[in-house]
């Protein structure tokens, strides 16, 4: 293999698998959005809301996001180390095991085999499979890094390493459980400690899956698709270490005003505020990179994905810490505001960056231009409008709901029953479903466009490389 990348077929495999799970996860999400309005859709045990919600979150975090991370990581890794993947056979096995694991995960969650710990719902045998998959991934990442031909590691590789170690630590420690059968186990921690460990995990799953590797993609693919160097590499050093240090303290901001010890909540709140700084360092790095070249927003179809993506990341990392403030948490927590917040991060930041990164790397490995820039633009606008409709509606819904829960009469009694607050949500849930449908349409366009781009081009490798190069410029 003279022009190098041993991982091309593996990258393609992970990317297409990831998009497949994305479509599955979104269909489940749409069904859930409809079930919120029409509870009669709870047709059978396997379609009941409580089980489907878990299929939705796991399918998208583990199927789509992790799949996309594997795809883009292998691509970035080879390019930034100028070294072919050290164990391509292992990576191929990882691709197979990944898809089998996600399929089994979905089936087991549909069947109600569920630990109830959010984003760690898989029962213990599948936890072991996840750990095996992660070790396979880590071996290739670290092995390739050790063998690399590029002396210094670029910032994307640091975030990749942080992802590898943090996922391992938080996933294993939170999933410790005592089995009673093959499909049932009980958490190793009880009560308050279980809550504290779970949200330490929950928050750092967001950090190590939906932040670190996505930042790795952002720092790699924005410069690569524009030809502009990142504004400040040393700023990214500061941002990296403070982000990686600060994130692990903040889990308890999901548990404000609960029986978790107050000092843990306060420390979490303080570090949540601190995290604005390193998060915005990446936002600033992104914006200043474009300084003087903002015309590329129009001339280069990929730039707007990255810039809008990092903008939503910036908004997300302001909104998150404000939600941790006790008074605001008391008002907003448990309302629709929180799903609104989460979906801006996932539909805005994560999906914008992963889909754009896939366009770029897929064009590069298949040696052809993207199938259609026009369709990519349609995809962009549909997911942008769909996401905004979805999230802004839920923020408003959450504020309405929080206000209704808190409203009191002059004598101190409650103005609204809980059911009043449910009845007030139906219009918002309908708009959310519409937003979700628009978003899904955008993702369907993306899936088609990416698939058409992924078909290997008949012809020589050299023409492939040239085409990819032209596309990068």
């Amino acid at each position: 293999m003279t022009n190098g990348a041993r991982s091309d077929s593996i990258v393609r495999g992970f990317a297409l698998s990831s998009v497949f799970w994305l479509l599955v996860g979104l269909v489940v999400g749409l069904w859930l959005a409809a079930e919120m309005i029409y509870p009669a859709l709870n047709l059978a045990p396997w379609l009941a809301f409580g089980r489907l919600r878990v299929v939705h979150t796991n399918g998208l975090v583990f199927g789509f996001a992790i799949g996309g991370i594997f795809a883009c990581s292998f691509h970035i890794l080879e390019k930034l180390t100028r070294t072919p993947l050290v164990f391509p056979g292992l990576a191929k096995a990882q691709l197979w095991l990944f898809n089998i694991a996600i399929a089994l995960a979905a089936l087991s969650l549909f069947a109600g085999m569920n630990t109830s710990k959010e984003y760690a719902e898989l029962e213990w045998p599948l936890d072991i499979v996840v750990v095996v998959l992660w070790v396979m991934f880590a071996v290739n990442v670290m092995g390739t890094l050790v063998k690399r031909r590029e002396k210094q590691m670029y910032v994307s590789l640091w975030f990749l390493i942080a992802c590898v170690v943090t996922v391992a630590v938080v996933y294993i420690l939170n999933s410790l459980a005592i089995p009673v059968s093959l499909t049932k186990s009980y958490s190793a921690y009880a009560g308050v400690n279980d809550a504290n460990v779970q949200w330490w995990y929950g928050h750092n799953a967001v950090a190590s899956v939906l932040t670190f590797p996505i930042l790795a993609m952002f720092y790699y693919f924005l410069p690569k698709s524009t030809g502009l160097p990142i504004y400040s590499h040393r700023l990214s050093i500061i941002a990296f270490w403070s982000l990686v240090f600060g994130y692990l303290w903040t889990g308890a901001h999901h548990l404000m005003l609960t029986p978790v010890p107050e000092w843990i909540q306060t420390v979490a709140l303080a570090f949540s505020m601190f995290l604005i700084a390193p998060s915005w360092a990446s936002v600033i790095n992104g914006f200043y990179t474009m300084n003087g070249n903002w015309d590329k927003m129009k001339s280069n179809y990929l730039v707007k994905f990255f810039i809008l993506g990092i903008t939503f990341y910036g908004l997300q990392t302001i909104q998150g810490p404000t939600q941790a403030i006790r008074a605001l948490s008391g008002f907003l927590h448990y309302t629709e505001y929180i799903p609104g917040h989460v979906h801006m991060g996932t539909m805005g930041w994560v999906t914008m960056i992963i889909t754009a990164s896939m366009y770029f790397s897929m064009a590069k490995i298949s040696g052809r231009e993207i199938h259609s820039v026009k369709l990519a633009n349609v995809h962009f606008w549909l997911i942008l409008v769909g996401q905004l409709l979805f999230t802004v509606t839920l923020w408003i819904a959450g504020i309405v709901q929080g206000a209704m829960w808190k409203a009191t009469n002059p004598d101190g009694s409650l103005t609204y029953t809980f059911l009043d607050s449910v009845a007030a949500m139906y219009p918002y849930w309908t708009v959310r479903l519409v937003g979700g449908l628009l978003y899904f349409a955008g993702i369907a366009v993306f899936a088609y466009n990416l698939y058409m781009t992924s078909r290997p081009k008949p012809g020589t490798k050299s023409s492939a490389a040239a085409a990819a190069k032209a596309q990068a410029a």
Partner: protein
């Protein structure tokens, strides 16, 4: 001031100190070129990776 409050304060100051130290170290002008080098190298052509059997290391 209680022991607990003192501990909180000292810990905060320690973290702030480390943070300031890291910034001072990396934003020192004499390290500028070395620290910023990777951002230019990553833009260089990477379409042709060397043969896996080679062991040349660049940079």
């Amino acid at each position: 001031m209680t022991l607990r409050a003192t501990a909180y304060l000292l810990f905060t100051l320690l973290l702030a100190g480390i943070f300031a130290g890291i910034i001072a170290y990396y934003f020192n002008r004499k390290r500028y070129e070395r620290v910023e080098a990777p951002k230019h190298r990553m833009l260089a052509d990477d379409n042709n990776l060397p043969d896996p059997t080679g062991s040349r290391r660049e940079g």
